[in-house]
């Protein structure tokens, strides 16, 4: 059987599933990707498919099925709701969502698809889309380039905004226990707010490049070196922006890992969760025995069995998973940070605590802190500045938590536990 015949067969199978669902449900909705050519399962198709979030449609359904076929991936929904109203919602979604023009949402009632009142226009020339398709007015290459451009722009713009917002929410939190804020450099003589913003601007483009690389990979492990190089370039760009101050090295590590795993995950069909992908990716980058560099993290591990950032990554960010239950929006940033300081192994704090006993004592103070008592928060902040304490590791994970929260809100597919 030729590829084209397989595609046609898959469509007929879907159609029969729709008709069968109509025996039970008043309305059936199909969601599929409108992508030309014979490869209906490439990375662009999945990027578009995975941008669909049924929650943005605001209809309630009785059954949902997800299928992978030669005609690409698709969802079927069975509902007992008025088909015309549902059709209105799908048209609104198609028109408002940036990638909506590449998503096909059909609504069936009485075993017939409802037609749109206004015919869809071709996204290249604006003529009626059906006529362009029938006359093969545009080449595959022309259509594919257009779709690729729009899809990658959509994802990278969003990614940029999410990372930027996550970093800014952390940076603007004040008071913050010796960490840099708009008002104070805290325990850091060598840093300030403006420097952190410069560093942020310097590093984000490298996360975008990591994402763009990982969406196209067939096999992740072959390209770990390419991703690592982008991470190193991000560090160099950061040091250049800060005059050799380490503002976000830990964050480059975490977000580099997570953005790469996210790109790999969101551009294909996976039965695994994103956490499993993150764990596997972390294992490809390193394992606890081969810490190549003489960083404080290595000493902490050898001396105290404190695994720090890498331990958190290898375990698939268990504390971020817990923190996500606390964090709903910006107003939860303080309590989430305090939770992280209390619970994670922060080698940045260990270094500044000078002894394990003091490290444990400081962490206990945070576990007991009432975040709703502004006086207590101010006092502990001053204490941290007096003792030159800092919590870079916890601040990094707060940013990671906010970033992942954004991803979860945006994709119905991503669950982080």
């Amino acid at each position: 059987m030729t590829t084209s015949d397989k595609i046609l067969e898959a469509r007929e199978t879907r159609y029969n599933r729709i008709l069968k669902l109509q025996d039970t449900y008043q309305t059936v909705v199909t969601v599929k990707v409108n992508y030309p050519g014979k490869d209906k399962n490439n990375y662009l198709v999945y990027l578009i498919f995975n941008s669909f979030n049924v929650e943005q449609l605001s209809f309630s359904y009785q059954v949902m099925g997800k299928y992978i076929s030669d005609d690409g991936p698709y969802y079927l929904y069975g509902l007992n709701a008025d088909a015309e109203l549902v059709k209105e919602k799908t048209i609104q979604f198609e028109e408002n969502h940036e990638l909506g023009r590449f998503l096909d949402m059909d609504v069936y009632h009485d075993k017939e698809p409802l037609s749109r009142k206004y015919k869809r226009k071709c996204y290249i020339c604006g003529e009626p889309a059906h006529e362009c398709i029938r006359s093969k007015k545009h080449s595959f290459n022309e259509l594919n380039a257009f779709i690729r451009h729009k899809t990658i722009d959509y994802y990278t713009n969003q990614l940029y905004a999410f990372i930027d917002e996550a970093i800014m929410i952390e940076l603007d939190l004040d008071p913050k226990f010796g960490l840099v804020t708009k008002k104070t450099s805290g325990s850091h003589n060598d840093m300030n707010y403006q420097m952190m913003i410069k560093a942020k601007k310097a590093i984000i483009p490298y996360f975008i490049e990591m994402f763009k690389l990982s969406i196209k990979l067939d096999k992740f492990d072959h390209h770990i070196e390419d991703l690592r190089v982008l991470g190193i370039q991000a560090e160099i760009a950061m040091f250049k922006a800060t005059n050799n101050v380490n503002a976000y090295k830990g964050l480059i590590f975490h977000l580099g890992l997570i953005v790469s795993a996210y790109g790999y995950y969101i551009s294909r069909n996976f039965d695994k969760t994103i956490v499993e992908i993150i764990k596997e990716t972390a294992q490809l980058f390193f394992n606890l025995d081969d810490l190549a560099q003489e960083t404080f993290g290595k000493i902490a591990y050898q001396k105290h069995q404190i695994k720090g950032a890498k331990g958190e990554a290898l375990l698939g960010y268990p504390h971020v998973n817990d923190a996500l239950r606390l964090y709903n929006d910006e107003s939860d940033a303080l309590k989430t940070l305090v939770y992280l300081i209390c619970h994670i192994e922060d080698t940045n704090l260990l270094k500044r605590s000078k002894s394990l006993d003091f490290y444990v004592k400081v962490k206990k103070m945070f576990c007991k802190l009432n975040v709703n008592n502004q006086n207590e928060v101010n006092q502990l902040s001053q204490f941290c500045i007096d003792y030159r304490l800092s919590f870079g590791g916890s601040a990094d994970l707060l940013i990671v938590t906010i970033f992942i929260k954004k991803l979860m809100e945006n994709h119905q597919k991503i669950a982080f536990n």
Binding site: L8, R11, Y15, T30, D106, E112, S115, H130, R134, K136
Partner: protein, 84 residues
Amino acid sequence: MIYQAGSKESNDCLITIKESSETKIHIDSIVGHLFYDQILEAVKETLKEQNVENVDVTVEDKGALDYTIRARLIVAIKRMKKNV
């Protein structure tokens, strides 16, 4: 007895075929105002290639390409022959 192939999805067509005393072709297409003749030609040619006569063919077309129309018709014919 009627036999069908295809779907009513966008860019597809649903072909219905049954035996008849003479060959009849009905086309209902969303792009019929522009492509009726082409679709009719595709159906006629395919029937000829498949050596099928005296059938009643209905094409409910949602903007399918010629390749799809031909392929759908061939499958519908196969389903009919299998059962005759």
